[in-house]
Amino acid sequence: MRFITSEEISNAVKNLIINSSVSLPEDTYKGLKQAFEKEISESGKTVLRQILLNAEIAETENKPLCQDTGLAVFFVEIGMNVAVRDKNLTDAINEGTRRGYSEGFLRKSTCDPLTRKNIGDNTPAIIHYEFTNGDKLRIMYAAKGGGSENMSGIKMMRPSDGKDGIMDFVVQIMQAAGPNPCPPNIIGVGIGGNFERSAILAKKSLFRKLGERNSDHELDEMEKIILERINNIGTGPMGFGGICTALGVHIIKEPCHIASLPVAVNIECHSHRHAEITI
């Protein structure tokens, strides 16, 4: 059994949060650059130029890319031969979140859902755990903004709706979202599982590198068709009109009940801040 102290985890989490708030990952920057070259609308090009410039300013001036520094979302893979000392893993991650958002001068966006009173330290983080082999701990982090999250959707479809029904649903969600989720977007789709599992899959799919193909041939085909249909809606960068509404569509599927076809669509904005560390 290998031991890691909770302090080491909190520290790693803090650094992931602070660094990714100012530094756009390479895959996102590249995707935006390609979109800039492809975009035919003038205002769309202006927006993309400014988004790229914003990334450069954020990096050099150490200033958050976006004022919505998100809820802290984690996918954690725990090797079966690793254990955490001192505090439990959830507390360690929340402590890292607390420090990251405070020491990084990031916006605290968690609040009570009814009184709307701000919690003050951006906890609790949203954490999903999975168990794997080995003695490592892999922590994947994303800062998830409210604007794009709000336009997401879930539907318990009929099995007879099939692939076409699923693709129509994803496109409808993006039609309804319009300019609100800060396009160009990355669209995470979770198919199968059950009600809550489909939403987790949709979120998880956003962690795949932008530009990386789906290893499942059928899903890869669906992603291409959906991407084309979304980019034909015309929404464009920030909704001012254009052909770059989606930078990518990512699908994950899992078995579901014979009576169900759960489909979740999680929209991610162009400020696609994600980072990971293996301890």
Binding site: Q67, R107, K108, G178, G236, M238, G239, F240, G241, G242
Partner: protein, 189 residues
């Protein structure tokens, strides 16, 4: 088309001269307010109490910036999604609010109020908070400090970049822009 430079408070002829799709650079004083601040402003109005600032001719920016680091004027400060303020915006326009800066679609009620009260809705680039913060020259919390990032701030801006989305003539950039580029995406790979 060129970029129009405008200053706040917005005079009626300035508002009338702005058309959907116009790129503008805004200079002068603007006020920040988002969900909770709007809730409180409208409550004051309902109770016939004075607002923390004279709203006539003013521009409200829907933003909740990141905390400023020591020595900084303001943190990252891009727009938040405007529809959450739709319920309150017509009430403020009735009292003389002339401009709103945010991102995303407005309700029909807001669009009607924009025409009725001669106001304008500007779109700023969401997710460009570091870039936008460069046009903010000073920032002072004037109300609701307890709301943290949602407090009302008086900002002095210089050449704040935005684009006219809804004008007094009923124009809507989101609808027009989308229609123009519908089915224009060709797959070439």
């Amino acid at each position: 088309m060129g970029i129009k430079k405008i200053t706040t408070p917005l005079a009626d002829d300035t508002v009338l001269s702005l058309k959907t799709g116009d790129e503008v650079l805004i200079s002068g004083v603007i006020y920040t307010a988002r969900d909770q601040a709007h809730f409180r402003l409208v409550k004051l109005i309902e109770e016939n109490k004075p607002l923390p600032f004279d709203i006539r001719g003013q521009v409200i920016y829907y933003v909740g910036p990141t905390p400023e680091k020591p020595g900084e004027v303001i943190g990252s400060a891009g727009p938040t999604t405007s529809y959450r303020m739709d319920k309150y915006a017509p009430i403020l326009m009735k009292l003389g609010l002339k401009g709103m800066i945010g991102k995303g679609k407005r309700s029909n009620e807001v669009k009607e109020a924009i025409q009725k009260y001669k106001a304008v809705y500007f779109g700023a680039i969401g997710g460009a908070g570091a870039l936008i913060s460069k046009s903010i020259k000073s920032s002072k919390v004037i109300a609701y400090e307890d709301l943290l990032s949602e407090a009302i701030r008086e900002l002095i801006v210089e050449d704040f970049p935005a684009i006219v989305v809804n004008d007094v003539y009923g124009g809507d950039l989101y609808e027009e822009g989308r229609k123009r580029y519908e089915n224009k995406y060709a797959v070439n790979d």
